[in-house]
């Protein structure tokens, strides 16, 4: 029997990887991919607790997370296309039009 803390540890490592990716990568598309890694880490946590505490709630919320991730990907990629049309770049350092 695998202990619950093993799943939580895997999820923590994945979440840290995604967070680091959001912080250090400069390509907007890869920043969005790192956000997907973080969402996946949260999903692992929810499903693991759902299994070990004999409850369905975690799996339901995990399904909602996947739906939110789909919406986030669609909106994020649409924003990338709009920005790319104007500036021919997906570097987050060059997206500073809304900065004052």
């Amino acid at each position: 029997m695998i202990p619950l803390s093993a799943y939580v540890a895997v999820s923590a490592v994945l979440f840290a990887t995604g967070l680091l990716g959001v912080l250090i990568r400069r390509n907007f598309i890869i920043v969005l991919m790192s956000v997907e890694i973080m969402l996946n880490a949260a999903t692992i946590n929810l499903v693991a607790f759902s299994h070990y505490l004999d409850s369905m709630q975690g799996q339901i919320v995990a399904l909602f997370i996947i739906a939110i991730a789909a919406g986030e990907a669609a909106i994020g990629l649409a924003i990338i296309i709009v920005v790319f049309r104007g500036k021919i770049s997906t570097n987050v350092d060059e997206m500073n039009l809304l900065k004052w």
């Binding site: 390509n27 598309i29 499903v47 799996q59 339901i60 739906a67 919406g71 669609a74 649409a78 990338i80």
Partner: protein, 174 residues
């Protein structure tokens, strides 16, 4: 036996996550993300969540990842010389220290709580999809409808954002 599978899925998903963050070419990052998603879905199988496994493979690996790769191919990105933040070396050490401390705290935590009634034996009687469906369309119906409205709004927003704007010439004619 279960431990071998768990170790495989865990190690490969962590390695794929690190590759996604560190590889240089965006398409290679997307393929590493695909490996990550498939191995995370393997972890769902280990946790008796077959329905989530199917949803993860179909929605994440099948739809979301294809959307990412489609946009990557559409934009035809050249690899940037500066693809990391300038201060990356200074970020790595605090991140590693913070992660080790977090893992130390997690392993020491007891992790217990009120147990529900959905035991593994109860779920296996009718299958995971049945159990999720009963719960989703009774207790979580409102949240389900909200997610539906959210997805509709997201897809309309994406279409409006990505629609090509009319050029100035045609606007003047109208």
């Amino acid at each position: 036996m279960a431990f071998v599978f768990f170790a495989y899925f865990a190690v490969v998903s962590i390695v794929a996550g690190i590759l996604t963050v560190s590889l240089k070419h965006p398409v290679q990052c997307g393929l590493a993300l695909l490996a990550l998603l498939l191995h995370v879905s393997g972890l769902f199988i280990m946790l008796n969540a077959e329905f989530l496994w199917a949803v993860q493979v179909i929605v994440y690996a099948g739809a979301i990842l294809v959307l990412y790769l489609f946009v990557l191919m559409l934009l035809n990105l050249k690899t940037d010389d500066r693809y990391f933040h300038a201060k990356t070396p200074y970020l790595l050490a605090p991140a590693a220290i913070g992660l080790v401390y977090l893992l130390f705290l997690l392993v020491r935590s007891p992790f217990s709580g009120a147990k529900g009634d959905a035991t593994s034996a109860a779920i296996l009687q009718n299958g995971d999809a049945h159990a999720i469906g009963i719960k989703m369309f009774s207790e979580y119906l409102l949240q389900f409808e909200i997610i539906g409205v959210f997805l509709t709004g997201a897809i309309v927003g994406a279409i409006v954002l990505a629609k090509a704007p009319k050029s100035i010439e045609t606007r003047r004619d109208a």
